[in-house]
C-alpha cells in the first residue's frame, strides 16, 4: 500500500527540477534555482487585493521601479534602486529597509546556510548609471553603453546580509560590470552574472568566489542551475550573431557545452528554465528552443506566436508541459507547449501587452500579469481563462507563496500588490478569442454584409443614373 501511495504521489506531483537549499516560499527568480516557475504552495483563484504597498520610483531619473519580489517566511522582499525593502506579507507594512548602492533593480534571493537565513542581492551600476529618461518604472532597465568607459571605479557587487539582523554576513563580492541577472542560489552556492559576461559562483558559507568564467556576452537573465549544471544565456549582437546558451559544471565551472543560436533575429534570450533533461530558452526571433542538458543538442524549436516575453522572464516547466507568454504590441498571449515535442497545445489571447515578468503556475492555474495591469488565471487543462482582475498601472513579476501572490505594480500605483484567495469570488470559463466559433462568424458576417451591400447598391444606383456610363460608343454618337 505504501508503495502504491508513493508511486501515485510521484505521478501526481510535477517534477521538481532542483531543490535549492532555500527557505520556504518564493526564494528567487521563478521560485527555485531551475526557474521552473511552479509554486509548491500558493493560493488558487479567485483572488482579491489583500494590500498595496506604495513605493515611489527612484534611480537617476526617478523612474526605476521595484525588482521582482521574493518571499521568505512572513516577508516579501524587493530591491529598489537605492534600497532593499521588506514588507509584512500579511499587511503590506514596511518591516525594514537597508541601503543599497544605486543599481538596476535586480531580483534578490534568499538562502539558508547553516540554519541562518541569508538575503543576497546585487548593487551598483559599475560607475556609469544610465542617463535619465532611458527607463520606465516598470520597463526594461537600460544597459549602460558598452562603449562608455566607467566614470568611476566599478562599484558593482554581490551583497549578503543576515535576514534577521540585516547585517552583512561576509564582505561583498566585487563584480566586473553591472549585474542585472539577479541572484540564483542552489545548495551552498550563489550564482550571479554581469553584463560583461562574467559568471560567478560564490561559496555561501565563506563568501569566497568558488570559480568564475566568462561567456563574453552580455547576460541579462537569471542563471539557472539543476543537477550539477549551471546554464546561462548571453545576448547576441544586433545584425550579427544570435544569442548564446552555455552550460557549466557547478563544481568547478568547466564548460559542458555552448550553443550559438543561428538566427540573426535571436539577439535577446530569456533566462533559461532547466529541469529533467531539458534547458528551455525563449528568444527574440519568436522561437522557444529546448536543449539537451547533457549535450546541448537542440531537441526542438517551436514558434508558438510572436516575440516571447523576454525581460525578467523564463518559461514555466513541468514534466509534460511548458508555459510561456508573448507579446507584440497589444496582442499578448499565453501558451501551453508539449514539453516533449514543442507543439502548441493551446493558446489564450489575452490581447494586452506582456513586456516584463514570467508566468507562474499555482496548482492548475497559470497566472499571467500584463503591462496593462491585469492579472489573469488560465486553466492549464483547457486553456480557458477562469479569472481576471484589472487595475491601474502595469503588473509584472509575480511571486506566489503561502496564502498570497505578490506582484510589482507600475505606473501611478507603483509598488507591490498582494492578492489572496477570495472565498466569495467566482470563477468563469472564457474561451480564448482565438477559438473559432463558425456560427458567430457567419452571423456577424451576414449582419454586416447585408446593410453594407444594400447601402453600396443604393449609392451605386443613384450615382450611376447621375453620372451615366463610363464610355459612349462613338458609332452611336455619330448616328
Amino acid at each position: 500500500v505504501l508503495l502504491i501511495v508513493c508511486a501515485m504521489a510521484t505521478v501526481a506531483l510535477p517534477f521538481a527540477p532542483a531543490v535549492a537549499q532555500t527557505t520556504t516560499g518564493w526564494a528567487q527568480f521563478q521560485g527555485d534555482a531551475a526557474h521552473s516557475g511552479v509554486a509548491p504552495d500558493g493560493p488558487e483563484p479567485p483572488y482579491e487585493l489583500l494590500w498595496h504597498a506604495a513605493v515611489e520610483p527612484g534611480g537617476p531619473s526617478g523612474d526605476q521601479g521595484l525588482s521582482a519580489p521574493v518571499i521568505a517566511g512572513e516577508l516579501a522582499i524587493a530591491a529598489a534602486p537605492e534600497e532593499v525593502l521588506a514588507f509584512d506579507l500579511a499587511t503590506g507594512d514596511e518591516v525594514w529597509s537597508i541601503p543599497r548602492a544605486l543599481g538596476p533593480p535586480s531580483q534578490p534571493a534568499v538562502a539558508e546556510v547553516d540554519g541562518r537565513s541569508m538575503l543576497l542581492f546585487t548593487e551598483g551600476w559599475a560607475g556609469h548609471p544610465p542617463r535619465s529618461g532611458t527607463t520606465g518604472p516598470t520597463g526594461p532597465t537600460a544597459s549602460p553603453s558598452t562603449s562608455e568607459e566607467p566614470a568611476a571605479p566599478v562599484d558593482s557587487r554581490l551583497v549578503a546580509v543576515d535576514l534577521q539582523t540585516q547585517e552583512q554576513v561576509w564582505e561583498p563580492i566585487e563584480l566586473t560590470e553591472v549585474s542585472r541577472s539577479g541572484v540564483t542560489v542552489d545548495g551552498d552556492r550563489a550564482y550571479v552574472a554581469d553584463t560583461r559576461g562574467e559568471l560567478f559562483a560564490i561559496d555561501l558559507t565563506t563568501g569566497d568566489v568558488a570559480w568564475s568564467v566568462s561567456i563574453d556576452r552580455t547576460v541579462d537573465g537569471a542563471v539557472a542551475v539543476a543537477d550539477g549544471t549551471v546554464v546561462v544565456t548571453g545576448r547576441g549582437s544586433a545584425g550579427g550573431s544570435g544569442a548564446t546558451v552555455a552550460a557549466f559544471e557547478s563544481i568547478d565551472g568547466s564548460i559542458r557545452w555552448r550553443r550559438e543560436i543561428d538566427s540573426p533575429a535571436a539577439v535577446f534570450p530569456s533566462a533559461p528554465s532547466v529541469g529533467g533533461d531539458l534547458a528551455i530558452v525563449a528568444l527574440s526571433d519568436a522561437t522557444v528552443r529546448a536543449f539537451a542538458m547533457d549535450s546541448g543538442d537542440e531537441r526542438w524549436s517551436s514558434r508558438p506566436g510572436t516575440t516571447p516575453t523576454l525581460f525578467e522572464s523564463a518559461v514555466v516547466q513541468l514534466d509534460d508541459a511548458v508555459y510561456m507568454s508573448d507579446s507584440i504590441g497589444l496582442t499578448g498571449s499565453a501558451y501551453r507547449i508539449d514539453r516533449s515535442t514543442g507543439e502548441v497545445v493551446w493558446d489564450f489571447a489575452i490581447n494586452e501587452s506582456i513586456i516584463r515578468g514570467a508566468p507562474v503556475l499555482i496548482g492548475d492555474a497559470l497566472l499571467v500579469a500584463t503591462s496593462d495591469g491585469s492579472l489573469n488565471a488560465i486553466d492549464t487543462a483547457t486553456g480557458e481563462r477562469i479569472w481576471r482582475d484589472v487595475r491601474g498601472g502595469s503588473l509584472s513579476s509575480l511571486a506566489p507563496a503561502g496564502s498570497v501572490v505578490v506582484g510589482v505594480r507600475g505606473g501611478d500605483r507603483a509598488g507591490l500588490d498582494a492578492f489572496a484567495f477570495n472565498p466569495s469570488g467566482r470563477l468563469v470559463r472564457e474561451a480564448s478569442p482565438t477559438t473559432p466559433d463558425y456560427a458567430s462568424n457567419f452571423a456577424n458576417f451576414a449582419i454586416a454584409a447585408v446593410p453594407f451591400a444594400a447601402l453600396a447598391l443604393v449609392a451605386g444606383t443613384l450615382l450611376a443614373s447621375r453620372m451615366g456610363p463610363a464610355f459612349e460608343d462613338e458609332d452611336e454618337e455619330e448616328e
Partner: protein, 312 residues
C-alpha cells in the same frame, strides 16, 4: 471585350488619336527615361477625383462586384482560420489591395505565420498566397472592365477575368521582388528606410496597375502587358505617379488607423466586418479607377519601340 471606339460622356473628351499608332519616342538614358516627358503631348487620363468617382460608381453600380467583395473576404477569412490563423482580423482589410500593397501587408505576414515562420514551408505558403491573390486580382479586373464598358457583369465576368492570371501572378512576384529590394536598401539608407519602403510600394503600383487591364482588353500577352502598363503609366501629364502615391498613402494610413478587429481573435465583430468591407471596397474602387484611366488612353499609349539592328 469590345474594341469599339469610346469616349467618356460629359464635358471631358479625350483628344482623338492619330490614325496610326503614336510615334515611339527616341531612346534615352535611364534617369531621363524615368523623369523626362516621354511624348510630345499630354495624356488624356482623367484627374484624381474623376477617376475615383468613376471607380466608385463602377464598383457600387454592380451587385456582383459588391457581393464579390464581401464574399471573397469571407471565404479568404474562413480559409485562413481553418489553416490556423489567429488574427488580427483587421489584416484582412488589405486582402483585396493591389500588389505590392497586399503582398507587403497580407501575404508577407499571414502565410509565413501559418507556416511556422521559417523554412521552406514559408516559401510554399507565400507562393500559395500569390496564386490566390493573382486569381482574385484577375477575376476582379475582368468584372471591373466589363462594368466600365457598360456590359452586364455576371459570374462569368469574373471567370473571364482569369485570363489575366499570368499577368497578376507576374505582378505579385514582381512586387515581392521590389519589396525585397526595399528591405535590402533599408539598412543602407538608415533614417530614410520608411520612405524607401513606401517608395517601393508606389513604384510597384505604378508599374503594374494597368497590366491586367491590358491583358483583359486583349492588347498584349503577359509580359507585353507589363511593358505596355509601364508605357501607359509613363505617359506625360497622366499623373499616374501621384495617383499611385495617393493610393499607397491611403492604404497605409487605413492599415494603421485604429479600427475594430485589430486584436488577436478569430470571431470578428459586426463592426470589424464593416470596417474591413469599407476598406476593401476602397481598394476595389482604386482598382476600378486604374482600369478606367487606362481605358481612357488605351489608344494613345505609345507602341513598343523596335530595337534597330546595328544601333549603338
Amino acid at each position: 471585350v469590345t474594341e469599339k471606339k469610346r469616349r467618356r460622356p460629359g464635358t471631358y473628351r479625350p483628344p482623338k488619336p492619330s490614325e496610326d499608332a503614336p510615334e515611339a519616342p527616341p531612346r534615352r538614358g535611364l534617369l531621363d527615361s524615368l523623369f523626362a516627358p516621354r511624348t510630345g503631348r499630354m495624356a488624356s487620363m482623367p484627374g484624381t477625383m474623376g477617376s475615383l468617382s468613376r471607380g466608385f460608381v463602377t464598383v457600387v453600380g454592380s451587385p456582383w462586384i459588391v457581393g464579390a467583395v464581401a464574399l471573397s473576404l469571407f471565404i479568404v477569412w474562413l480559409g485562413g482560420v481553418a489553416a490556423g490563423f489567429k488574427g488580427p482580423f483587421s489584416l484582412l482589410a488589405n486582402a483585396l489591395a493591389l500588389p505590392p500593397i497586399s503582398t507587403a501587408t497580407v501575404d508577407a505576414i499571414i502565410p509565413p505565420s501559418l507556416a511556422g515562420g521559417s523554412g521552406s514551408g514559408v516559401l510554399v505558403a507565400l507562393f500559395g498566397a500569390f496564386l490566390l491573390r493573382a486569381a482574385i486580382h484577375a477575376a476582379f479586373t475582368g468584372a471591373l472592365v466589363e462594368q466600365l464598358e457598360g456590359r452586364k457583369v455576371s459570374g462569368w465576368s469574373f471567370l473571364r477575368g482569369l485570363r489575366a492570371f499570368p499577368v497578376t501572378m507576374a505582378a505579385s512576384l514582381g512586387g515581392f521582388m521590389l519589396l525585397n529590394i526595399g528591405s535590402a536598401l533599408a539598412p543602407i539608407v538608415g533614417g530614410l528606410a520608411l520612405l524607401v519602403q513606401l517608395a517601393v510600394l508606389v513604384v510597384g503600383v505604378y508599374l503594374f496597375a494597368f497590366a491586367p487591364v491590358i491583358t483583359i482588353m486583349g492588347h498584349e500577352r503577359a509580359f507585353g502587358s507589363i511593358a505596355r502598363s509601364l508605357r501607359a503609366a509613363r505617359m506625360a501629364g497622366s499623373g499616374n505617379l501621384s495617383f499611385a502615391a495617393l493610393y499607397v498613402l491611403a492604404s497605409v494610413v487605413l492599415l494603421f488607423f485604429p479600427k475594430p478587429g485589430n486584436l488577436l481573435g478569430v470571431n470578428p465583430s459586426v463592426g470589424a466586418w464593416l470596417a474591413v468591407f469599407a476598406i476593401s471596397l476602397l481598394h476595389v474602387v482604386f482598382q476600378a479607377a486604374f482600369a478606367y484611366r487606362y481605358l481612357c488612353v488605351y489608344d494613345e499609349v505609345p507602341e513598343a519601340q523596335v530595337r534597330q539592328a546595328g544601333r549603338r
